[in-house]
Symmetry: C2
Subunit: 198 residues, 2 copies
């Protein structure tokens, strides 16, 4: 195993420590003071590793996405039937918190960047499309195995799952209650059973 | 009709001009310079009417909510059956833009304020609850008229409609395509026909 250089280690540490700040307060709302407090570094210490706040924000977003991806995939059994896998992902979204505060980085950064920073916007689009592709691929594989109705469009299933869960998360975080997420889960599971599965 | 004082007029004008800035860039992302450019006023001109940026942001949010409410209600026929009214609101959400840029102020401000400004967070909660109450009241009235299945919970219908539409809006704005919103509409209309209506 190649040993990571000290510089790379520090860089990764800064990214991990800055990520919750960006996730909770957004790009503009994260001040250099907040980032210094979170990392325990002075301005020069941060900018020795990153050319700009934008570069740090971009890496922090990618870091959160890969952590979120890993956390969600832990609850997915790739051997299970497709509809079951989709239910496992819904269950994970509703009942398992991500390993950093602030909620879903895709939702937060999408709202933050849709009229804002173009670099961040491009990264969120990429992340959203990875999730869309993953969900669609589960539906397509299930269709090949004859588990899915012929009329079902994989993109529709993927869109509905992501839209409903992200919207319910917005309500749940605002209300500080998982009520909306639980109702969304019940609805989506029922939809999968009655409209998607054969 | 009582004539509005010049001060009140100016105040209302500042709120209307500042609203799109807050809606597009969030509370922290809206700088005094942005607000000065939007209103054509100097710092002193703004702070003669508002004690703080927070006060202005709060009034701008309430202004957008009442404009959004009025815009949506224009597409609603209160004499139509309940399920039809819900479809009209979905149609309005999917196909009619609000009279200011930046998308839905509830979604934007909820994400902006869920880990941020408590005064704004409280205002978004209030606005979300007004929408929830409106949708629930449509379902309850329809239930009294025997148009709705007995097992249907008004809060579930209201939650699913808001969550799915807001989540689809997030995707549509990010992708700059109404594809997600159209899929959401089709799904929700089908849900209303098959799971809600008698």
């Amino acid at each position: 195993m190649i040993k990571e250089t000290k510089g790379k280690q520090t860089r990764r540490k800064i990214v991990a420590e800055a990520a919750p700040i960006f996730n909770r307060h957004g790009y503009e709302g994260s001040s250099l003071n907040d980032l210094m407090a979170a990392t325990g570094l002075k301005k020069g210490g941060i900018y020795r590793h990153f050319s700009s706040k934008e570069e740090l924000a971009g890496e922090a977003f990618d870091y959160m996405c890969s952590e979120a991806w890993r956390a969600r995939m832990q609850h997915l059994d790739p051997e299970a039937p497709g509809v079951e896998q989709l239910k496992q992902l819904i269950e994970s979204f509703v009942h398992h918190r991500l390993p950093f505060p602030g909620g879903c980085p895709i939702l937060n950064t999408a709202i933050d960047a849709d009229d804002g920073n173009p670099m961040l916007r491009e990264r969120v689009r990429k992340a959203l499309r990875m999730w869309m592709a993953r969900l669609q691929s589960i539906v397509k594989t299930a269709a090949k195995h004859g588990e899915i109705r012929r009329s079902v469009k994989p993109k529709t299933v993927a869109t509905l799952l992501l839209a409903t869960l992200e919207g319910a998360l917005m309500i749940s975080r605002l209300e500080r209650s998982d009520d909306a997420l639980r109702r969304a889960q019940q609805h989506l599971n029922h939809y999968l059973d009655t409209e998607v599965a054969v």
